[in-house]
């Protein structure tokens, strides 16, 4: 039986178990009239029995799904002829894949010999008996759990407390997914990065000035030494982030000031949702706009001025990214400005200063930490932004500060290194994970710093 159908059957059994448990609870006290003698509401006895039927069987099915392929693979391999058991892990994987395809009746690469056919038959037999075993075991476990729980039902059994304990455990488990995700990210990136740093020294990666990740596939290949100096990527990222900040910080801040201080109710009601739309446009759409509308426009403008602009200039990507970040900066600045106590503002106005003077000399200095924190969050967003730069910035790792030239960024390189065919023992693929580690650490640091600044600043006035 397929695991999905099996799960459905187990769930159906649990529903049945609920009815049985509830019925027995009522029966022990002589029908609904005696309900007052039960410790918990009858439904809780039902849930109790249902949980006992459901949870152990589900855990078993899940574990089986995870472990089964490995066990079967090991068994099939141990049945192979002597010569093939000595293959390298990679070749063995290929062979196993072939056996699987043969068993499923798909196309097989390479020639099919008797041993392979025998192994495929082996595989089919093993997985069929494994499925039978799983079906029998899980259904038996569900039934056993239900019976054990059913027999325990008595009027003074604290069914509600037991059920609530399980639910609480499930809630805690759900909330720890967030922690698990972080651990997963750290481990997955860290392990591959460590493997990378075994081949390429950390100092070369962090301080090397030359980035050309093409490693030679054959020994005698020309021109692909593979050098992994990531400095051009860092400077490229900083350049584009800088341009984006140059656009988004003044515009976002002035927008927030205008909407908070000058705009009429009607203008505000119109402009705010429009800016929110800007924040909701997917980044791939911004990328398309940057590559097909903004870049040619900047190129034409540059030619009119007699400047030589690369077709994938950092400027186009940076400006569009800046526009994307405007809503973020403006909403965080808005929060910071609104958090300044009204008394400060009223005091300044009462002393006769104009509204702009109040804003520049009183409110902005008071709101500065909050605004800085917001800008840090915006910088972290710009550094991690991928699609705009993948589509509009180049691949050439130039070490330059000229916004009209093409530069590449950390995220672009991660995408280029990992899209397409990959083998997981080449430095080229592993480099992507090292870059990912850098990206994760930097954005994490910026976020923690930004959140800290924002929070401490808020507390100051509360």
């Amino acid at each position: 039986m397929e695991p999905a159908t099996l799960v459905l059957i187990v769930v159906a059994m649990a529903i049945g178990a609920f009815q049985l448990g509830r019925g027995r609870a009522l029966a022990t006290v002589g029908g609904p009239g005696g309900m007052r003698r039960l410790h918990s509401l009858p439904g809780y006895y039902g849930y109790y029995v249902a949980l006992w039927a459901l949870l152990p069987a589900l855990v078993l099915i899940l574990m089986w799904i995870v472990v089964e392929p490995r066990v079967i693979a090991a068994l099939v391999v141990s049945g192979l002829p002597e010569a093939q058991r000595g293959l390298t892990p990679g070749e063995l994987d290929l062979l196993l894949n072939n056996i699987r395809n043969l068993a499923a009746g798909d196309a097989v690469s390479g020639n099919v010999d008797a041993a392979l056919r025998y192994a495929a038959g082996d595989l089919k037999r093993l997985s069929a008996s494994s499925h039978r075993l799983l079906t029998a075991a899980s259904l038996a476990l569900a039934a056993l759990g239900a019976i054990v729980a059913w027999r325990r039902i008595a009027p003074d059994m604290r069914a509600r407390n037991q059920v609530e304990k399980v639910v609480l455990a499930l809630l805690i488990a759900a909330s720890s997914i967030a922690v698990l995700t972080t651990i997963g990210i750290v481990l997955s990136v860290l392990f591959e990065a460590i493997r990378f740093f075994r081949e390429v020294p950390l100092t070369e990666f962090l301080f090397g000035l030359n980035w050309s990740p093409q490693t030679a596939i054959r020994e005698d290949q020309v021109g692909s030494s593979g050098s992994f100096g990531a400095v051009p990527l860092f400077t490229g990222t900083l350049l584009i982030t800088g341009i984006a900040m140059f656009v988004s910080v003044p515009v976002g801040l002035m927008t927030a000031i205008f909407l908070a201080e000058y705009a009429s109710q009607r203008v505000r009601a119109l402009a705010k949702p429009l800016l929110e739309i800007l924040a909701g446009i997917p980044t791939v759409v911004y990328g398309f706009f940057a590559a097909l509308t903004m870049a040619p426009a900047i190129r034409r403008a540059g030619e009119a001025l007699g400047l030589d602009v690369a077709s994938e200039s950092a400027l186009a990507a940076g400006v569009v990214m800046g526009i994307m970040i405007i809503p973020l900066v403006s909403s965080l600045s808005d929060d910071a400005i609104n958090a300044v106590p009204r008394a400060l503002r009223d005091g300044a106005l009462a002393l006769g200063s104009t509204r702009s003077e109040t804003m520049v000399r009183v409110i902005l200095p008071a709101a500065l930490p909050g605004i800085v924190g917001g800008i840090l969050l915006a910088v972290s967003r710009a550094i991690g932004e991928t699609m705009i730069v993948v589509m509009a910035a180049g691949l050439a790792a130039n070490l330059t500060a000229n916004p009209l030239e093409a530069v590449t960024t950390v995220t672009v390189q991660i995408v280029t290194l990992l899209v397409g065919d990959q083998e997981f023992d080449s430095a080229k693929t592993l480099a992507a994970f090292a870059l990912g580690l850098v990206l994760f650490v930097v954005t994490l640091a910026l976020n923690i710093l930004g959140l800290q600044v924002v929070r401490r600043y808020r507390e100051q006035y509360e």
Partner: protein, 424 residues
């Protein structure tokens, strides 16, 4: 005296200060206008580029379904017959004066290779047609489509344009004879991806996105809701709860591409789910949207007034009963709104999907959670990279469809929020 002196100083500077005030205000207005103007420019260019992709040029051909072509050996093999030959013959019949081999090839290339497929469909539907002549509407090649839509300038030097002078003349003649028509581009919504722009559609990508979102919502909404309930209602202020809080806040700001790396390393390399499968994409997007949903759900739970809880406690309800019988039903609409917003973010997400192989060229429409698939935003990325002019138009059209879906989801969320918003 002193007051008068002060007044003089103030009044002397007043004009300058008011000028500054006006200037400051103007800057503010301009800054606000930048965002709004960009939005306007963006939508106008998008509509200008994409609107025409919803119509497709088609050619009316009088096709003779001759037996010589369909059944050269007497026994017709309708699946694999040479339908392209029928298309060629039909075109050559319209222009009998064209005899030169190169010219005839150019003439034949006016029709899309999809024309042959269309004829096969027609014949398979009605095999009686064999031997008869029938007027069939077939798609034209992408360049012809572009020319008819006015996106290829006939004034340009012939070397630089994809259609030759005589091809333009033929198109003119066909137009005069009323053989060229423009119909709604159904192929865009019923086909998978294709190398030929005129045959490429977004159905595969839409289905891929749908499968992914199903996986995402079934995982992230229950998990996010449960996590929010725990953090708001049960967690005491201890280290563990603090740790989870910090984690959620940071995960919300981790670049999405890093989630792609996680998906690649854990779901594909470690657990061994096939690459390009909507299942992996859905899992990654579920982790990505989890913080969004948790934060929104917590806000919804917080908005339920404590009096509700206290009343339930007073009646003897247990903590679990208070939460599940009283707080949760009141908070649910707000939580669902958060879930919709999380889903709209997941729908537009591209970068992590590139990491897990959903960027492959896939023609077939996926029919399950483990079939290779791509997603709508990834399709936009792929088409935006294609050099053909006709793909630029289709990219804009796909973006319009994507934005349409996002608008729909956000409107639903806003309407829902408005309807359930209650003042306690």
């Amino acid at each position: 005296m002193n007051t008068r002196e002060t007044r003089r100083i103030v009044e002397a500077g007043l004009a300058r200060r008011h000028r500054r005030e006006g200037l400051f205000r103007l800057f503010g207005l301009l800054a606000t206008a930048v965002g709004v103007i960009f939005l306007g420019v963006f939508f106008v260019t998008l509509a200008g580029d994409g609107a025409s992709a919803f119509r497709q040029t088609r050619l009316q051909l009088d096709v003779t379904f001759s037996e010589d072509v369909l059944a050269p050996d007497g026994e017709p093999d309708l699946q694999y017959a040479d339908y392209d030959a029928l298309v060629r013959n039909a075109l050559w019949d319209i222009f009998p004066e064209v005899q030169d081999r190169r010219a005839r090839r150019e003439l034949a290339s006016l029709a899309s290779i999809g024309a042959g497929y269309r004829l096969r469909e027609v014949v398979l539907e009605d095999p009686e047609l064999i031997g008869a002549t029938e007027r069939v509407s077939v798609p034209v090649a992408a360049d012809v489509d572009m020319f008819v839509k006015g996106r290829i300038d006939s004034e340009v030097n012939a070397q630089l344009r994809p259609l030759s002078d005589r091809q333009l003349e033929w198109i003119d003649t066909l137009q005069r004879e009323g053989r060229i028509e423009r119909t709604f581009n159904t192929a865009l919504f019923t086909n998978g991806d294709s190398r030929e722009p005129e045959l490429a559609g977004i159905k595969g990508a839409l289905m891929g996105s749908l499968y992914m979102l199903v996986v995402t919502i079934t995982l992230s909404f229950p998990l996010g809701a449960a996590a929010a309930i725990y953090l708001e209602e049960f967690a005491s202020k201890n280290r563990w709860a603090d740790l989870i809080e910090v984690n959620i806040n940071n995960l919300a700001a981790v670049p999405s591409i890093v989630f792609g790396l996680l998906g690649l390393a854990v779901f594909i390399n470690w657990i061994g789910i096939p690459r390009s499968a909507p299942l992996v994409g859905g899992l990654v997007l579920a982790l990505l949207t989890l913080p969004v949903i948790i934060i929104a759900s917590r806000a919804a739970i917080k908005a339920v007034p404590p009096s509700i809880r206290e009343a339930a406690f007073a009646l003897g309800a247990s903590r679990m009963q208070v939460v599940f019988h009283h707080v949760l039903p009141l908070a649910l609409p707000g939580m669902l709104t958060g879930a919709i917003i999380g889903m709209s973010r997941a729908l537009g997400e591209t970068a992590p999907l590139l990491m897990i192989g959903m960027v492959a060229f896939i023609v077939d429409v996926p029919s399950g959670f483990t079939d290779p698939a791509t997603a709508l935003p990834v399709q936009i990325y792929l088409w935006a990279d294609s050099p053909e002019r006709a793909f630029a138009e289709r990219t804009s059209a796909a973006i319009i469809v994507l934005l349409g879906f996002l608008l729909l989801m956000n409107l639903t969320a806003i309407i829902m929020r408005k309807r359930v918003e209650r003042q306690w």
